[in-house]
Symmetry: C4
Subunit: 192 residues, 4 copies
């Protein structure tokens, strides 16, 4: 099975997820700058989620670039990842409209956690298809970055009940950590 349609479909879904988040920006009544003030938390959440979708698209792009063929299992592992990502617009809106209250922040973190888990599963399924000596397997290696992210999300959830700003700080830190596209893969390509 060639991978082009998998890439095209994923790109389409990610592009739509990215863009429909803007539709949570309800146009306010009034033409003064002050009517936009209550929207600031919503916009802040949008920026965070936009960066997260960008990171996933970026790394998805890199990971599939290192892959030659996709099996039926890969298609479903990919859909599983898209499922959790598709919940981001809702949890982003809920967190923004409630000004980072505890439960919305926890739910947001839980969806990020599930996205991280789904991404790890996708990587594992891809490596199983490609083989342990493949370019991808060597590039991902022991996947320390992925494991650290999942651990950080898991830690952030109970912390959110104590202080949700700490949880939000962790979400931001994980994003920053991933912001740099997967240099492991990029390096390998240059070497060959």
């Amino acid at each position: 099975m060639p991978k082009t349609r998998l890439e095209a479909f994923s790109d389409g879904v990610l592009a739509i997820i990215l863009t429909i988040m803007v539709m949570e920006f309800h146009i306010p009544k009034g033409d003064q700058l002050s009517v936009l003030l209550p929207m600031l938390p919503v916009v802040g959440c949008y920026v965070l989620s936009f960066i997260y979708i960008g990171i996933y698209w970026n790394n998805h792009h890199h990971m599939l670039h290192a892959v030659k063929h996709v099996s039926g299992g890969v298609l479903w592992a990919n859909l599983h990842l898209l499922f959790w990502l598709s919940l981001l617009p809702f949890v982003t809106g809920w967190m923004g409209e409630n000004h980072f209250a505890t439960w919305p922040t926890v739910l947001y973190g839980s969806v990020l956690l599930m996205c991280g888990v789904a991404y790890t599963i996708l990587a594992k399924v891809l490596i199983r298809t490609e083989g342990p000596e493949s370019l991808l397997a060597r590039a991902v290696g022991r996947d320390r970055k992925g494991k650290v992210s999942i651990a950080l999300y898991a830690v952030s959830l109970p912390l959110a009940f104590w202080n949700h700003w700490v949880a939000l700080g962790i979400y931001g830190a994980v994003a920053a950590m991933w912001h740099i596209p997967d240099r492991r893969i990029e390096r390998l390509f240059v070497e060959e």
Copy 2:
């Protein structure tokens, strides 16, 4: 006529159908976990429809992969399938907001039935274009799985008036049956 644009257009429509279902998740008032409880049926319906769209995309992907050229008739048979699939977000929302009441469940099943019929028509049109000796014709064969699905949907509709959980169980069972991508086609590719 090459098939690339048909694939790209179908991918686009399916990606949008998949994603706009999330827009039925109206952000609730309040920041407690309890305000999300009434949304659970909607989320459940979303999961079922997400899997169905995934199955259709998956099998569409496999079927067109086995095809070389598309005729004008194929374009319309494909649009016919997309039409019925495009009704899924509406019936998903109606079923979810009414907690699987009888009529919404029947309508949901009817749309699934029509999707199944439209998929069968598309397969028939494709096989007519490709010829009875083609890779696709041999792979689809007597299409027992397609016929069984349509029969199950048809049976589920009257059953829904008696007990709608039975109908929902049938929808889930058909999804499970199709979950495994069409191994018939995959096997043939490997053999050649």
Copy 3:
């Protein structure tokens, strides 16, 4: 300039136009079949517009298939066509919610007229780029079908004030006339 991105962008816009029309189907209150009755005109309009978008996508597909290169003028003629098509969801919704009242029917026909004009302009710009001896120029020829459609739309507008069902009948008739993909182009490809 290669034509792939023009095709991809047009496919994307058309796929979204097609799909967001479903979002006008507001989920009704109540779980009885009767609550869907008032939606029937909206669904009827959706079917008509779905077929129209299908026709445009189909013919756009055929026309660009016969083209080798696109110039800056083609990009803008194409955007102009997409602009008028993008108004279809709004006029479809307005006509459906007002049960085919006179003014909504006239506005719907006006948008169809402008789509027809924009398509003719795109064809002319493409033929100018390709040259009078090109495959496309010979296939489109004197473009009788395009001219007849525009004339029929123009006639339907005043008729709508007398009896809007006549206007709607004309819209349906033009759709039926175009339903068959442009056999002129298909024939030429087979001949070569």
Copy 4:
């Protein structure tokens, strides 16, 4: 890294941004032509934003056509541009519903300014990747048009407080200036 997925993803996001602006056209109550009158400013804003998205798509298309490879930095510079463009539907709706009042007009211009800045950054990152002797570097040259646009937007913002029609006139003039696709790049391609 090949550039195809970057183009596909950008096309998808731009196509969605273009199309969801139509969703701000709320279907009015009533079937008389007069109920559409209050919508005219919204439609006017839509036309302006549609042309702007068209220009960005067009120039993005030309610029990436002149590029061979994309780095991680390019992916993020591109996402940064898409971020500002994604705000256009919101500011378009706010400006339209408030009939070009001062603050909405200023915000609209600010988003245009940031889009211009983001486009310039993307061009710089691309040229750094391609090298100073590349086709792209020679084509963009000193990028006078880009600098003039950014200056005009910056000037228009304070002017909007004095007379917002002047600001709107400037937005229109910049659009007209860019309407012609980047002939610098097109010329170079023909020469080679």
